[in-house]
Every structure is written in C-alpha cells, then in structure tokens.
Symmetry: C2
C-alpha cells in the first residue's frame, strides 16, 4: 500500500452494467430489481447474482426522474432547533412517524425550519425531493403552507391554523375536551381559585386548550380571570406562572397547557414556597417524559403523541397510494382516507393533582 493515495472512489454500478453481467436487457434487470412477477425464475436468479456481485444499488435521482416519485416524505417543523429538541412531544411524534415508515420503503426528511424563514425549506420541498409532507407545530403565521398544499399532499399534526382550510387532512386530539377533563380534575379536588398557563396563542392547540379550560370553569361557576399566556416552553411556562402568582396569589389550582411548561411552573411554585399539590394542585397536558422530570410527578392529560405521528404518516401514505391508483376515473370523492383523525385523551393521575 502506498502511504498517501488520494482515495479514488469507484463509480457506482448501473443497471446497464448489471444487465451486461447477467446477459439480459436493462429492462429486465429493472423488472427484477422492482420485484415484477413476470420474469422467468432462472433469469431472476442470474440478475440477482449479478446485482450482488456488483453490489448494485439503484440510483435514486434517475429512478425518481423517470418514475416521478421519490419514496420520501418530509416532516416540516416550523420551530427552531432548540425548541424542537427541547420538547419531548416532538420526539414522540417523530418516533411514531418512523415506526410507520419502517413498514414501508419511504424515507423521512426532517425539515426544522424557522431560521431561514421558510425560503430554503420551501424550495427544497418544491424541487421534487419528496412525495408528500407532514406538518406539525403549525402557527397562524406560517402561511407558506397554503402554497405547499397546491404542490403535494400534506397532512397536519394538529388542526391547521388557517380557518379556511376545510379540505385539509389532519390528525389531532380534541384539545378542548382534554383541557376540560384536566381542569375538571382540579374542580373535583375542591379547588376554587383555578388558573391556567396557556399554550401559544397562535396555535390551535393553545387556543383550544384554553377554550376547554374556560368551559370547565364556567360550568363550575368559577371565575375565569386567572389566565396567563405561555408559549409551550419551560421558560415561557415559568414566566407565565410568575405573572399569575403575582396577579392572583391565592390560586389553589393550575392547569398548564403542556407538561414542559408544567415543569417550569413547578419550579416557580417551589421558588415561591407553594407546595404541590398541597397549596396548588397542578395538571399538565401531553403526558410526555417531561411530566415526570420535575420535582413533582405531574398529573396530566395524556395524548397519544407517538400514535398521532404514526397516524399522520399512515394517512399521508394512504393518500399517496390513492393518488397513484386514480389514473383517470371519478371526480366524486370516495373519501377512502378521512380528512380528520381524532385520537382520544385521558387523564393520568400522578402526584401533582
């Protein structure tokens, strides 16, 4: 061996080379590679041998150019990295998506993008890199989505923010019902001065959970003024709790719109000398790992985040399959894939309430 050879990379084998080795045409190799049944057994064997001998792997670009498909999906997350990695909710959703995709031969492209304001992301999407897109953590302002939908099938995690979006496909839980459930727990515990730290006001999940909270309080005839806005981050949750404590020092119950914010709330409560659940009972939302990470294990409204990711991928895959079938036929919608998939929430009792 010479000591310093420039690593020269052998060119990847092509269909043509395989065809030559196997003594058949490119078309036949293509059939074998793609698992067509209409090929003679001994030919299949010959091709398979050649493929392994040459260590052949099909070129994705060429395949996608010819077939107009990529076998890839994008997961678009309009948040910055810190946020994305900071909230276990995202981890669960990604986990679910990949679990579904592992059963297919689609791959996932993660697009975490608030830094470069959607421009690069949108270009990436529009340049035919993927067959469809999954969008989570969608904010009111993220209207690049509208354009996206005209380009490729899209499925949302959480009801999309655009009010006009009646045709949108999404997977969600009934956030209002969930929040109601969580708040009711506080009521049932006999708490009568109940506050909330909301999620982002520009996200349906934030808005709906507030709605559910208010509904429960009104039903119980409890004042609904103890509301402070958070943003689904630990810091935001902590800050909101601080403001709440300042404004309403007498609260004895707190509904926090996410477990992550819940940990922030717990910190502030302790910092202010309030015991949990003694002085203040706390209920979170998500049932993410964050729920058990704080000083007190959180009672929380559980949503099946991972299952939601799984369902999102599943819906998108089915839409894609449908599109492939429709060669021409009907324009009446069979509705084989439902636009909305609503998953259940349930209350998980731990120590905080």
């Amino acid at each position: 061996m010479t000591t310093s050879v420039r690593q020269t990379r052998p060119p990847q084998p092509t269909l043509e080379m395989v065809a030559e080795v196997a003594g058949v045409s490119r078309a036949t190799v293509s059939r074998v590679v793609n698992g067509s049944t209409r090929v003679g057994p001994e030919i299949v064997a010959a091709v398979t041998t050649a493929v392994e001998e040459l260590n052949y792997v099909p070129n994705r670009a060429a395949r996608s150019l010819a077939s107009r498909q990529t076998q890839a999906l994008a997961l678009v997350v309009p948040e910055d990295m810190t946020r994305f990695f900071g909230d276990p909710y995202f981890a669960a959703v990604v986990q679910g998506i990949t679990r579904r995709l592992d059963q297919s031969d689609f791959t996932l492209n993660l697009l975490v993008a608030s830094s470069d304001p959607q421009h690069k992301t949108l270009r990436y999407l529009r340049s035919g890199n993927v067959d469809g897109a999954l969008i989570i953590s969608h904010h009111t302002g993220d209207d690049f989505v509208a354009e996206l939908e005209t380009t490729m099938p899209v499925v949302f995690g959480g009801r999309p923010a655009n009010a006009d979006n009646l045709e949108a496909y999404f997977v969600d839980v009934d956030n209002a019902a969930g929040a109601d459930l969580g708040t009711q727990r506080l009521v049932d515990l006999g708490r009568r001065r109940i506050g909330t730290v909301t999620g982002s006001a520009d996200m349906p999940a934030g808005i709906d959970r507030l709605t559910g909270f208010l509904r429960a309080l009104e039903r119980a005839g409890i004042p609904t003024d103890a509301v402070e806005h958070g943003d689904f981050t630990v810091q935001g949750g902590a800050a909101a709790t601080r403001r709440l404590l300042e404004r309403c020092p007498d609260i004895d119950g707190l509904f926090v719109a996410s477990d992550l914010m819940g940990t922030g709330a717990l910190d502030v409560l302790r910092e202010h000398g309030r015991s949990v659940p003694g002085d203040v009972a706390v209920v979170g939302f998500d049932d993410s790992p964050a729920a058990t990470r704080g000083s007190v294990p959180l009672t929380t409204v559980s949503q099946p985040s991972e299952e939601m990711g799984f369902a999102m991928a599943d819906v998108l895959l089915r839409r894609l399959a449908d599109d492939a079938d429709d060669d021409d036929d009907d324009d009446d919608d069979d509705e084989s894939v439902p636009h909305r998939t609503i998953m259940p929430t349930r209350l998980v009792l731990r120590e905080s309430a």
Copy 2:
C-alpha cells in the same frame, strides 16, 4: 367553488417552459438559474421574469442526475430515537451543522438509525442521495462505516472506533485531557476517594475519558478501583452510581463521563442521602443543558458541541469542494483539509464541585 373537487396538482414548470416564455434556449435559462456571469443583462432579466412568472424551481432529481451532485449531506446517528432526542449533546451538534449549512446551499438529511440495522440507511446513502456523510456517536460494532467511506467522503464527530482508520477525517476534543482536567478538580478539592461513571465502553469518547480519569488519579496517588460503567444515558448513569455506592460507600468525589449521566448520578446520590458537593463532589462532562437541569448545577468539563458540529460540516464541505477541483492533477496530498480537528475543553465551575 365546487364543494369536493379532487385536488388536481398542476405539473411543475420545467426549464424548457421557462425558456419558451423567456424566448431563449434551455441552456441559457440553465446558466441564469445557476448564476453564470457570462449572460447578457437583458437576457438575465427576461429569464428572471419568466422564472418568477412560472414560479419555477429546478428539479433536484434531474439536476443531480446530470451534474452527479446532490447538494445534500447526511448526518448518520447510529442510535435509537429516544437516545437521540434524549441527549442535548446531539441537539447542539445538529444545531452547529445546520448553522454551517445555512451558509451554503446544502441541505441536511438526518438518519437516526439503529432500528433497522443499518440496511435501509446504507441503501439510502449508497443510492446517491447525498454527496457526503457526517457520522456521530460511532460505536465499535458499527462497521458499516467502512463500506461507506469507499462510497463518499465521510467526516466523524469523535475519533472513529476502528483502530485501522488512519485516513479518517474527524472532529473531536482531547477526551483524555478533558477527563483529566475534570478529575483533577476533584483532587484539588481535597477529595481522596474518587470514583467514576464511565461512558459506553465501545465508544472512543467513553474509553478516552476513562483513560484521563485514571491518569489524574494515578498522578495523585489515589486508588483507581472505583470505576463503574455507564452508557451515556440517565438511567445508565443512575444504575452505575448505585453500583458504585454499594461497592464504595465511602467515595467523596465522582467524575461522570457525561452531564446526562450526571443528572442520573445526582438523583441516586440524593436518594442515598448524600449531599452534593458536601458529601460527594461531582464533575460532569459536556456542559450541555443537562448540566443545569438536575437538583444541583453541575461543575463540568465543557466541550464546544455546537462548534464541533459546525466544524464537521465545514470539513466535509471543504473536502467536497476539493474533490470538485481535482480534475486530474496530483496524487501527492496537498492536505488542504486536515484529517483531524481537535477542539479545546475547559472546566466550568458550578455548584457540584
């Protein structure tokens, strides 16, 4: 508007269509799109107008097929999702990588892959989806890497596990020196019964940090038997600490090979009624957000994780640029891109030691 139109997606515009609208040839449009300077100003204007009018975006597959480049990189992480999302170290590295890539027009493909044992991942890589790969958290067993290097330029985060890999490019810190530094802090504090919770034994970072720990103790003439193996997870760190406490109940100093494991250690220490740093002084490694997440802020050996990600991407991009230049010329290595990039560590003092 009809109520239920099957969303029919208009075909994406092509170079050819732009050419027609602008009244020039495809070649010219291609030049303009790719920013060639050798084009008349008014032609550039015409083409630009046409591009915007049609909302044209180049097709990646076609471009990549013709140019034999993808303008995409892969980040390969041979870990499961839970682990990937659980350790802030990865978040920092990804952050750094994307920060570098944002200055280029390369995109990043994240491949978190221990589930499907590398098969799908390897196929993805080998089918020409990316121009190069970044690999972090590389274990001894992950030998698929060897094959990868023959296919495309690769840069490692952390010295690769394969001993024979002299030609490998990587970005790392001097783990042994860092661990030595951290351990020395415990010695300087007057601790004389010092233990360690190591990282994974099949990863260079784990091994080297143990080496540094041992070196510091030997220098100080302190027994080196208080060693328990962790695996860079909270649970692993906690379990190792538990074993250590059982075996050496008298330890007064603890070097933990990662902050994440450090939080696990802190929990166990408290659970056993040991105060920190009173009874046991603790030093971590990484200086990740996990360092300040536990009950006591960790004194830790800081490594510039985000900068390391940035550097990894930078090295890979430069290798790629070099490869593009070398049309034929030399076979003596200019070594314009260094094989190893070693970043500094420093001790960050907080409350735990």
